[in-house]
Structure formats: C-alpha cells, structure tokens
C-alpha cells in the first residue's frame, strides 16, 4: 500500500511536469505514466484485498543496512572534496569494523589493498581521472 501510494504521487508529479511540454514530445511519456498509474492502482487494490501483499525482508531502519546506506551517500558526497586515495581506506576501515570484522590489522590492510587496487586499475591502467581531492596537487 505504501509502495503503491508513493508510486501514485511520483506519477502525478511527472504527469503534471509533462503538461508543460509540447504534446507531441510528451505523448509517449504520458502513455508510460498512465500505465504506471493504472498498475499502481491495481497493486493497491490487490494489496487491499490481501492478494500478493509484499512481505518485506528483514530490515531495521536503525540497523546496519541504514548505516550502510547513509555511509554510502556520505562517501559519494565526500569523494570529490576529500579524494579517493584518502577517503576510501578510512571509509573502508570504518565499514569493516561496523560490519563486525574484528581483526584491526586485517581491516587496515584490506582497506589499503582495495584502495590501491582500484586506484591502480582505474587511474593507471584505464586513465580514468579518479577524484584526488586534497591530493590533486601531489598525485598526477
């Protein structure tokens, strides 16, 4: 029911958005949005009748999954200013520890190895301008 309601709100927002553009360009998106709308209504009706009700998998909003999601967003936000070579080992070590990996030395080593490996593959082999952040003046 929550999922269906969220979907309806999103569809409504996009449908209103589509009204501000030429009809010809928006005909196809409106068809897609209408189908989405109808299916969301159908899903809500089925949920109301108790048919195919989703049984969400085990999840705690205050649990580790939530922490991982927040830390993932934090990593992406900080990646450009801090830089990959510094942020990744620190973030990696923190996540290993959170997830209950006890061995400190292995956590440090693994986070450093992962950083070095990904950096080497993308920066040196594939010439990808990996964000260097505060190290951008030092590493070329």
């Amino acid at each position: 029911m929550i999922c269906g309601t969220g979907m309806l709100v999103l569809v409504a927002v996009f449908y209103i958005w589509s009204l501000s553009a030429p009809k010809e360009a928006m005909a196809w998106p409106r068809i897609a949005l209408t189908i989405t709308f109808l299916l969301a209504v159908l899903m809500m009706a089925l949920a109301h009748k108790g048919i195919g009700v989703a049984k969400p998998s085990a999840f705690e909003w205050r649990g580790s999954t939530f922490h991982m999601m927040v830390s993932a967003v934090g990593y992406i936000v900080l990646l450009n200013p801090v830089g990959f070579p510094i942020l990744t080992p620190v973030w990696g070590y923190a996540v290993f520890r959170w997830m209950g990996y006890k061995n400190r030395l292995v956590s440090i080593l693994v986070s450093l190895v992962i950083t070095a490996l990904v950096f080497y593959i993308f920066k040196r082999l594939l010439y990808v301008p990996v964000p260097l952040g505060i190290l951008s003046e030092l590493i070329y």
């Binding site: 998106p29 897609a32 899903m43 999954t65 990593y75 990696g92 290993f96 594939l126 990996v130």
Partner: protein, 501 residues
C-alpha cells in the same frame, strides 16, 4: 560465413585475448561461487574495465565472466548447499548430498564437464542460428521494430510469473524512466530539470550497476552466510570416462533444453535447470535416486544452466532483445563499444561479432579448464567475509560508474538506482523488467513514431505488414501465456482429482 568464423577463431585465439578471456572466466567463476554475487552483477561491475580494450577483447572478457559465473554457482551449491546463483539451485539437490558423502571432488568435476558441454552446445547453436536470423531481421522496418519491442516488453509478463502485477509495474516504471532525456524525433528535453547531463537519457551502465550491485551490498550488511558448514574438496576430482559417457544422453538433452529456453526471452536459466532436472528424472532408469546425490542430477542441472548463456545471446545479438538480466547487462557492454545489437551488427561489425561467437565457444572450454583448476581453492573463496566484500563492491561500483563518462552525475544515477533496486527488492518487485523496459522503451517509442510518420498517423501500419502482425500476435500470446498456463494447470489438477475420486 565460414571465412568470418575462421577469422573470429584466429582473433579469439590470440594469446592476449586468450589471457583476458581466461581472466574473465576466472573472475566469473569466483563471482558465481560467492553466495550473494550473481553473474549479472559481475558483468555490470566489470563493464567499465572493458572501455580501453578493443571491442572484441572487451566483449570476450564479459563472455568469460558470463560463462564462468554459471559454473561458479555450482561450487557453493555443492560445497555449501547455498546456490551461488539462482540458476544453481537445482545443483544443490544432488551436488550437496555428494559432498556430504565425501564426493565433492567428483561432483565439482561433473559440474565442470557438464557446464562446459552445455555452454559448447549453446555456442554451436549461437554460431549457426544467429547469422541466418540476423539476415532475416534485415527486412525489418520501423513497424517491425516497434512490434519486436512490444514483444520484448511482453516478456516482462513471463519474467514475473510469480506476481505479474508487480512485474508489469516494474516494467512501466522502466518505460517511464526511459523517457528521461531528449525526445527521439523532435529533440525536446524531457524530465531533465535543466541538467544537460541528462539530455542523453539515463545512462544504462550506471543504472545497471546500481540496480544489480547496490541491493546486494545493502543486503550483505544484514546477512551473514555461515561459512562453518563448508565442505572441503574431497575424493577424486574427475568422474571416470565411463561415468561421463554414461551421462551422454542426459548432457545432450539438458543442453538442448537450456539452449531452447535461453532463446525464449524471459524464460531464464532457473526455469531451464528445473525442466532439465525433471526430464532427466523422467528418462532415468532410477528416478528414485534423484536427490540422494547422483551424477545425473548434477549433469542435468549444470549443462542446462550453462546452455542458457549461448541461447540468450541469439535474440540479443540478432534482434537487440535481451532474454534475461545478464544479457541485458551484456547489451550495455556492447553499447559502450558503439555496437548496437540487431541485424545490422552482423553486416557492419561482422569481424567483431564472429570473434565474439568464436570466443564464446572457447570461453566454454576455458570454463572446464579454469573450473577444474579453481575448484581446488574454491572452499577458500567461499570463506571471504561479507564485511570485506560489501565495501569492496561498493567502491568498485562508484569508480566504475564514474569511469564511464568521467562524470559524477553517473555516480549519482548509480546510487539512486541502487536505492530504487533495494526498495523494489524489499517489496518483492522484480528488477529485471525495469532493465528490459529501459532498453526497449526508446526502441519502441522511436520506431512507433517513425512508423506513424511513414503512414501519416495511420495505426493500421502495424497490422498490415506480415512480420509486424506476427510479432504482435506473439506479443499478445506472450501476455496471455501465464493465464493460459494457469488455466491448463488448474484443469490438469481438477482432472487428476476427478480421476482419483
């Protein structure tokens, strides 16, 4: 065709290409063997690595991962009773009881032989079916492409047989997401919110990485596999020649089933393994022994699931329709090298395509060689803790998404799709239909609008051309099939009840 194929084999047997294919197969096996990681995720994650490679070499790396991951799934199925990939679920029935009896070596050996055999049969089918089908598809115009896209989209119904409403909803979400970007005919920006980076639409690879990798990362945090129950590799590594030959018919039958199921869009490898296992049991002289740990069960399941790989590439390469989620990701790999799947691919990029076909054949031989070599260390692979895997996959996904266009917007798309994927997974809404719709939506829209321009807005253009009409009929049938099947099953059940009464 023969000359091109020979050239393809020559290219694929180039030492560097062979080395890359071996690396791909090894990575595929490791990814497949790790519970929680799938071939789809592996291919999506490693697509960015192929950027700087020659298109054929990059695609062969992905082929290696694709083929290897199917076999890899059997390692954890046998040693851990936990299928590494959904397709390996059937392998647990006989593989794990064999491991319990101390015959894990034989089970893994049979699995490697069967996987390689199934893959080779499907590679042969790919080599011989794909070119003529592509030649036929050259006759297609916009109305046929529209009908084809509609047919592809109806596959969503079969992809989500368990809950069609949810599958269709996922497909509709995908269709809506596919409209972000410039409109294909007038060039008007749609739903871009002024971001120029979105004018080209949602980038497929970051979306795929997000949809397939991120939910795994988030789930790994809350799941921990008990690695204490891993069985070590015991007993001899290969079944005897007599035992292998004894499985001949079983292997051929299961491989054909896998290939045919693979060609049918949406059927998937899990379905093929269950069908093949069931058929092996039906034709067996000792059906009662199935499930107790016999080679027949392992051979049937593994040969059919690897055979799906080649089968699913047939509609992908010739018509541009991915039959399952792995081939959808594979399509992403083709696109980043500027190769658009479809009949023109066989004309405009013949050498690359034939190198891919030949390489696919060789990759399946490598599955056996690498598989046997890696089996010895497989129990160690299974012990890698999720605490290490999850952050590593995340970091790789972020940098991989960034590497596609060196654009941070792709990283944001990746994480957004990751959240969408995780949310949908939590509500048991399948993700594969979204991918299919993102790929086929633009094809359906542009060909529908081009067709209508051709016919001055007359809708009958879709039903007055024979190929288009047949494809639309197939689409209707594909939509109706789950209902027909349900009705037939119910009727069968009622009949058997009446008989019993």
């Amino acid at each position: 065709m023969f000359d091109l194929l020979m050239q393809g084999f020559m290219n694929a047997l180039n030492p560097m290409t062979l080395l890359i294919m071996t690396a791909g197969t090894t990575m595929g096996i490791i990814i497949g063997a790790t519970p929680g990681l799938t071939g789809t995720m592996g291919v999506a994650l490693l697509v960015p690595l192929t950027f700087t490679m020659e298109p054929a070499t990059g695609l062969l790396l992905l082929s290696g991962i694709y083929c290897g991951s199917y076999y890899g799934g059997s390692i954890s199925a046998i040693l851990l009773n936990c299928p590494g990939t959904p397709a390996a679920a059937c392998t647990t029935f006989d593989g794990h009881p064999m491991a319990k009896r101390g015959e894990s070596g034989r089970a893994l050996g049979m699995s490697a032989i069967a996987s390689s055999f199934g893959g080779l049969v499907s590679a042969v089918a790919l080599i011989f079916i794909a070119p003529p089908l592509a030649k036929f598809a050259l006759k297609f115009g916009p109305p046929e492409y529209f009908a084809l896209a509609v047919f592809g989209l109806t596959v969503i119904a079969s992809l989500s047989a368990k809950n069609m409403a949810k599958g269709l909803l996922a497909g509709a979400i995908g269709l809506s997401l596919a409209t972000v970007g410039m409109d294909p005919i007038m060039g008007f920006p749609r739903f871009t919110a002024g971001f120029n980076d979105l004018l080209e639409g949602i980038q497929l690879i970051p979306a795929l990485i997000g949809l397939f990798s991120m939910p795994q990362v988030f789930n790994m945090v809350s799941e921990q596999i008990d690695t204490m129950g891993i069985f070590k590799l015991e007993g001899k590594m290969l079944p005897s020649l007599k035992e292998v030959l004894g499985q001949g018919l079983n292997l051929i039958r299961s491989s054909i089933i896998g290939t045919v199921v693979g060609i049918m869009p949406g059927a998937g490898s899990s379905a093929s393994t269950f069908i093949a296992y069931n058929e092996a049991m039906r034709f067996s002289k000792h059906p009662e022994k199935f499930g107790t740990g016999i080679l027949d069960g392992v051979a049937a399941a593994e040969s059919s699931n690897n055979a799906v790989s080649g089968g699913s590439l047939i509609p992908l390469l010739t018509l541009g329709i991915p039959g399952n989620s792995v081939s959808a990701v594979f399509l992403g790999g083709l696109l980043i090298h500027g190769l658009r799947p479809g009949p023109r691919l066989f004309v405009e990029n013949a050498e690359i395509v034939y190198t891919l076909l030949a390489g696919f054949f060789i990759a399946n031989i490598l599955v056996f060689i690498v598989g046997m070599a890696i089996a010895r260390v497989s129990s160690y692979i299974l012990r890698v803790p999720y605490a290490i895997l999850a952050p590593a996959i995340f970091v790789f996904s972020v940098i991989g998404s960034f590497a596609i266009r060196n654009n941070f917007v792709d990283v944001i798309i990746m994480i957004l799709f990751g959240f969408i994927g995780w949310f949908l997974k939590r509500y048991n809404i399948p993700v594969a239909p979204i991918v299919l719709a993102i790929i086929l939506g633009p094809m359906a829209e542009s060909s529908a609008r081009r067709s209508l321009l051709m016919s001055d807005g007359d809708l009958s253009i879709f039903v007055t051309r024979p190929i288009s009409l047949v494809l639309l009929f197939m689409a209707v049938f594909s939509m109706a099939w789950p209902f027909i099947r349900k009705y037939l099953d119910k009727k069968k059940e009622n009949d058997s009840k009446a008989k019993l009464a």
